[in-house]
Symmetry: C2
């Protein structure tokens, strides 16, 4: 009943074999008689033996952990609905395999590269998730040069050596626009995310093309920054337009909810005077007044798929070609914030 946890040597002596044999047995490698394997397994069980991650890490040069670097300012990150659910999905995969998730939150800028570099050089992780892809994303080259396996969330623009797990934002965005068109809207504006982000431009491109398909042009496309404060400002600019839009499509819920507040503060009634749609279906979307029409993806599933793909890549050890994964696209959730515009002026 010693306090010390048993090592593989303890198991070996108890089973009357060598360390090596124990290692073989526990890793299910061939070359041992079945009776011996059973005896070793029983001994390990009796002793309550659990392998030491540290020793294993050292000898096989693996960390048994995956990394996620989140590049955001704390206050922006603060109410992001994506990452918590994504992380939960990742963990659901890691838990089975005894892996851990190492998280790094870095502020934008120089810190970012340092964050990945640290994870790689300290050997903390066997691979990382690459989220919030940007155009000409420097991280792809960085990770290649660091030799750190990665999975990208959605597909980067240029060629990428990494498998991608994709959840297409465009169908959802298009569905929003079509929904508004059906309601009779013709003057529709968009509040986009920062153009540096691939998913931000993907959404705004989808917005524009959906309108174009109906022979329309956007009233305006405002670039914003995914924050509530940014949403407010963009909304004010849009509402000040001579030809005020009857509907605004936001690239995320936070900007949309803030925009909703701004519209109400300006004396407008949503949805009568202005229809508003978001993106994410964050928790509050359903409960603000009026309930926010939005687009729902499944970040939990996203996390699962990303973790599985990254593990395939790591297990394959460079030899296997891991295919991209396409997740079911986000879909439209219609609530009360969108309706037929009250003051029709065709």
């Amino acid at each position: 009943m010693s306090k010390e946890r048993p090592t593989i040597a303890d198991v070996a002596t108890r089973a009357g074999v060598s360390k090596g044999a124990v290692s073989f047995a526990l890793n299910g490698r061939p070359g041992l008689a079945q009776t011996t394997v059973d005896r070793i397994l029983a001994a390990a069980d009796d002793l309550g033996w659990r392998p030491s991650n540290r020793a294993r890490s050292l000898s096989v040069s693996k960390a048994f952990a995956l990394g996620l670097v989140i590049t955001r300012d704390p206050e922006v990150l603060s109410s992001d609905p994506f990452f918590p659910a994504f992380i939960a999905g990742v963990e659901s995969v890691l838990a089975h395999r005894g892996q851990a998730l190492v998280l790094q939150v870095v502020t934008a800028g120089k810190d970012e590269a340092a964050g990945y570099r640290r994870l790689a050089q300290d050997g903390r992780v066997d691979g990382v998730f690459l989220s919030d892809l940007r155009h000409e994303d420097p991280r792809i080259e960085l990770l290649t040069s660091l030799g750190l396996p990665a999975v990208t969330l959605n597909r980067p623009e240029g060629s990428s050596p990494f498998p991608a797990v994709c959840l297409d934002d465009r169908p959802g965005t298009i569905a929003v626009v079509e929904h508004l068109l059906e309601l009779g809207h013709r003057r529709i504006a968009h509040v986009a995310g920062p153009p540096a982000f691939v998913h931000a431009t993907a959404r705004s491109a989808a917005f524009v093309s959906a309108l174009a398909a109906a022979g329309l042009e956007p009233v305006a496309v405002e670039s914003s920054d995914f924050t509530a404060a940014g949403g407010i400002e963009a909304t004010r600019r849009l509402l000040a337009l001579p030809e005020r839009p009857t509907a605004i499509v936001y690239a995320n819920d936070r900007m949309a909810i803030a925009g909703l507040g701004a519209a109400q503060q300006a004396g407008l009634t949503v949805p009568d005077d202005l229809s508003i749609a978001g993106f994410d279906d964050s928790e509050l979307a359903e409960f603000v007044h009026p309930g926010l029409t939005t687009v729902r993806a499944d970040p939990y599933r996203f996390g699962e798929a990303a973790a599985e793909t990254l593990n395939q890549l790591i297990d394959g050890d460079g030899d296997v070609d891991v295919p991209d994964v396409e997740l079911p696209p986000a879909r439209l959730i219609i609530r009360r914030s969108t309706a037929t515009p009250l003051l029709e002026e065709t």
Copy 2:
């Protein structure tokens, strides 16, 4: 220019000394001539040597990592404003010391203990943060038996072997009540968090006692669950009361914002018909309409302090008595959602 990273042995041969000497020099231990130390340091520098975390972990039996277990359902966690900022604060401390943060998101219930157990038994971390303390929290005993150092966020009820980092919620709550009393409210209700949580009951106790100090009793105290959905329901119950409250104090912003939506949907004007106050000052609080009166803490600073305290505990190795830390209390942020009640009926 080999691809392999240099080991301590490479440094040793280059400096013409033994491995041990290199180790001594790099850890700044006495017993080496200054000239030798300089030579070794120069050699290490030339080679771009960085210590292997894995080897160090194995030989000194440390993980050089801290752990955070978040026990929440993904969708509840999803819009929590506390953790992201808290984590950022933690990281700001860890980055300097080359430590990593290991995150585990577990669903409530059996999983929780397993989560801590895994972190401990796999030797993933040197200590953990204990957040969302509950009454009679079983985790304190669990961690004690696992021998895992910890820091509690706020002080648990019973005796605890762990240092506590505290941010008192009560002054903020009291300030909210006093603010409402000054505005002339007399019928004030509270929507509390789950009574299992220490911080939930702390806030509701502060609420009740602040009213009592003015010789009043709460109209009602509804127990809810910190979610938007729960906030909606609690609000509906309160609004259905024969003696409808003129103000509702919520234990967090999410419930408050949802409650705001519920009130508006019920045809009430906030703040004229009903004043609403939250807790957290989450990003959206400022931007909903009307802006939410709330209480602002500093989760980033909380994270910093918790990480520093936990590291003191770990470095002290059980010998040192680490003092509790008291952070500046949360303070009231007054916005438009609170005002003098319109229909006075003294």
